[in-house]
């Protein structure tokens, strides 16, 4: 039992999965000797050898595509895309092949691959290193889209993703990579891929979020608590498929909901959640659903990014609007 950061938990899960199952191979740019630009694969090549931890040439389309071929052959590739800003060349393979191989061949060939990528803002990174394109993947049938928000959830969800018989896109919030340490038991226990996590129980309002935004959301809940308001926080973690039941249950209890994400507002995963509420919780909604998200603009460069990312203040303002609504 050790105190580890989120990126170390990812590393633990990868090592665990590789020792458990010889079919698991890690590949990507700089995942070998370098151990990944964030050290997520640190030491894996030394320990498991260059046959199971492969440095690929610089080619995202092929990284995804060859992973499809490996997976169809019974391997369980865990491919790293260095940053989500560079995942776009892989989308063709994910949408047209990885997510369809099972359906296309009626189960004859399958595609148990995991595509890992660091994502999100707040680390003052250069252009293309701070985006949150999860909504694109959450729209793709046959795919799973997962985002952990703590070391233990990173460990359990990544293990589940690797063991899942279908393709999983797994985004890791860079801002949380080293933000906090947590006791994580390396016991190989996976977490479910279709359940939201209740980070905080509450009765007055539901705050739905995922990834690094859990920090601002937890801070907002603290502030509300000081004012005697009890906020429930759901970390969706799995954005495809969505744990709609958990959201409906919580909002059925609180009647008010604020959805928080870094991605641009329009067409973000928050829209699907709000839609499910408009469809299934109309009776229980005591206030309009609020979304606090990135603006519908291009993510600015570091000097202004804090004005782009949802702040605790913006979350609080939205929560107060929802709470004040009669």
């Amino acid at each position: 039992m050790a105190e580890v950061t989120l990126v170390q938990a990812v590393n633990l899960a990868l090592a665990r999965a590789m020792s458990e199952d010889a079919a698991v191979v890690v590949l990507g740019e700089d995942v070998g000797a370098e151990g990944g630009v964030f050290r997520a694969t640190d030491g894996l090549q030394r320990h498991f050898g260059a046959d199971r931890v492969l440095d690929t040439p610089l080619a995202e389309t092929a990284i995804a595509g060859l992973s499809v071929g490996l997976a169809a052959q019974g391997f369980r590739p865990v491919a790293e895309i260095q940053f989500t800003g560079f995942i776009y060349p892989a989308i063709d393979q994910i949408v047209n092949h990885a997510s369809r191989l099972r359906t296309r061949t009626r189960g004859r060939l399958t595609c148990p691959l995991v595509l890992r990528a660091p994502y999100g803002g707040g680390i003052r990174a250069i252009e293309h290193h701070s985006e949150s394109p999860e909504a694109i993947f959450a729209h793709i049938p046959g795919l799973r889209m997962v985002i952990p928000s703590s070391p233990s959830r990173a460990y359990g969800l990544l293990l589940a993703a690797i063991r899942d018989p279908d393709p999983v896109v797994f985004f890791e919030p860079t801002r949380l990579y080293r933000a906090a340490r947590e006791e994580v038991e390396d016991d190989g226990a996976a977490l479910p891929l279709d359940r939201a996590f209740v980070l905080r129980e509450g009765s007055d309002i539901t705050l739905v979020t995922w990834g690094a935004m859990t920090m601002e959301t937890l801070a907002a809940a603290e502030r509300l608590a000081e004012e005697g308001i009890s906020a429930e926080i759901l970390d969706l973690a799995t954005l495809k498929p969505l744990d709609v039941g958990a959201v409906l249950a919580s909002v059925g209890k609180t009647g008010r909901c604020v959805i928080i994400h870094e991605a641009p507002l329009s067409g973000g995963v928050g829209a699907e959640i709000a839609a499910r509420l408009a469809e299934g919780a109309l009776v229980s909604l005591l206030a309009p659903v609020e979304r606090v998200a990135g603006w519908d603009t291009v993510m600015p460069l570091p000097r202004l990014e804090r004005h782009y990312l949802p702040s605790t203040a913006r979350i609080l303002a939205a929560a107060r609007r929802a709470l004040a609504y009669q």
Binding site: T56, A59, G65, L66, Q73, R106, G142
Partner: protein, 373 residues
């Protein structure tokens, strides 16, 4: 200080100020000329009458399947279909060069290869008829299904070949794509990685000179498509793709090399698309009929038949027997396809996930309800 002052005249690196650091050449091979005459000593395989007849049957089967598929489409009983008329030697020759445990990654015009590999004409009719079950092959279980997005299966071949290498299996992944596909980045990335990792992958360019309406000359300035492999540092060559002996020999060499750890290989097979791009296409809009007529003189089936006849290995009765046997096979497959009802609507939901979420179960119920009305 800009190049305005640049007085350089010569536009090539002048010999006296540069040295050659790398040299490459592309070789072309053919055994049977368009009349079926052997222009050089034939390889072993071509001295085996049984094999030659098998290759001939494979090509005739492929052409007959194509003809039936087109007929079914024309009468509204099959979807849009890409005939491989005139390209049979490429598909059949490469399939014949493969071992059963190799894996084929075809494009959408390799029916002849799929049939040779054991995919049934019934399955192919099902797929082109719009039924997923057509890709659930009973044989060649590891072969990839038809790949519609051009060139996207090239990286799959890299993954399959990597799987063989990691498992230390003496097997090869054989990937086929067209001339147009060579313009797509997927192919370049795949060739490069296959080279960097020395994978047991054989890439065959089915160069039929056209990408729908785009002639090869507009597709690239490369003198040959085989030289695409030079960029990846892999052995590359060109063969007469209408000479099945040449295709079979070259792919046989490449497969043997791949299986024995010799690394990847690229083969450009020069052939010609005698038909329209698909049943939805009308090539007369962009292609001169005279060109097509000329190319008929080089087509692969007559070429091998003439060779067999000249060698006294094939007679009128053999031809008649073969055509009858194949017609029966194809007709039976077509009849079975036409007699096969569509799957139940809720099968749309099967295989989306191995473990479908509750959500999807609800949608499945709704779909069944809607279908019931």
């Amino acid at each position: 200080m800009s190049a305005e002052t640049n007085e350089t005249v010569s536009l090539e690196p002048r010999a006296e100020v540069s040295t050659v650091v790398a040299r490459f050449e592309i070789r072309w091979s053919r055994f049977l000329d368009p009349t079926g005459k052997a222009i050089r000593p034939l390889p072993g395989l071509a001295r085996d009458a049984a094999e030659l007849k098998a290759l001939y049957r494979g090509m005739v089967l492929a052409r007959s399947f194509d003809a039936k598929a087109v007929a079914l489409q024309r009468t509204g009983r099959l979807g849009t279909f890409p005939s491989a008329l005139g390209q049979e030697a490429v598909a059949v020759g490469l399939a014949a060069a493969m071992h059963p445990d190799d894996v084929l990654l075809p494009s959408f015009r390799e029916h002849g290869a799929q049939l040779w590999r054991g995919v049934s004409p019934f399955e192919l009719f099902m797929f082109w008829g719009g039924d997923e079950r057509g890709s659930d092959f009973a044989a060649a279980r590891e072969d990839f299904p038809v790949c519609v997005p051009v060139a996207t299966h090239a990286p799959h071949a890299v993954g399959v070949a990597l799987a063989f290498k990691l498992r230390r299996e003496a097997r090869a992944a054989v990937c086929v794509f067209g001339d147009g596909a060579t313009s797509k980045g997927d192919v370049a990335e795949a060739l490069n990685i296959a080279g960097a990792w020395q994978l047991p992958a054989v890439f065959v360019i089915n160069n039929n000179q056209w990408a729908i309406s785009v002639p090869l000359a507009h597709q690239t300035a490369a003198e040959t498509l085989a030289q695409k492999g030079i960029a990846a540092g892999i052995d590359s060559e060109q063969v007469d793709g209408n000479d099945i002996v040449a295709v079979r020999e070259a792919v046989g060499r490449a497969v043997a090399k791949a299986r024995s750890g010799g690394g990847p290989h690229l083969i450009e097979a020069l052939t010609y698309r005698l038909g329209d791009h698909t049943t939805a296409d009308d090539a007369s809009r962009y292609r001169d009929d005279a060109e097509v007529s000329r190319r008929w003189a080089e087509e692969p089936i007559a070429r091998l038949r003439q060779h067999l006849v000249a060698a006294g290995l094939w007679h009128k009765e053999d031809e008649e027997r073969l055509l009858a046997e194949i017609a029966a096979t194809i007709e039976a497959a077509a009849a079975k396809y036409l007699a096969t009802p569509p799957q139940s609507p809720d099968t749309i939901f099967d295989f989306t996930y191995a473990n479908p979420p509750e959500d999807l179960a609800e949608q499945r119920r709704a779909a069944l309800a809607a279908a019931a009305e």
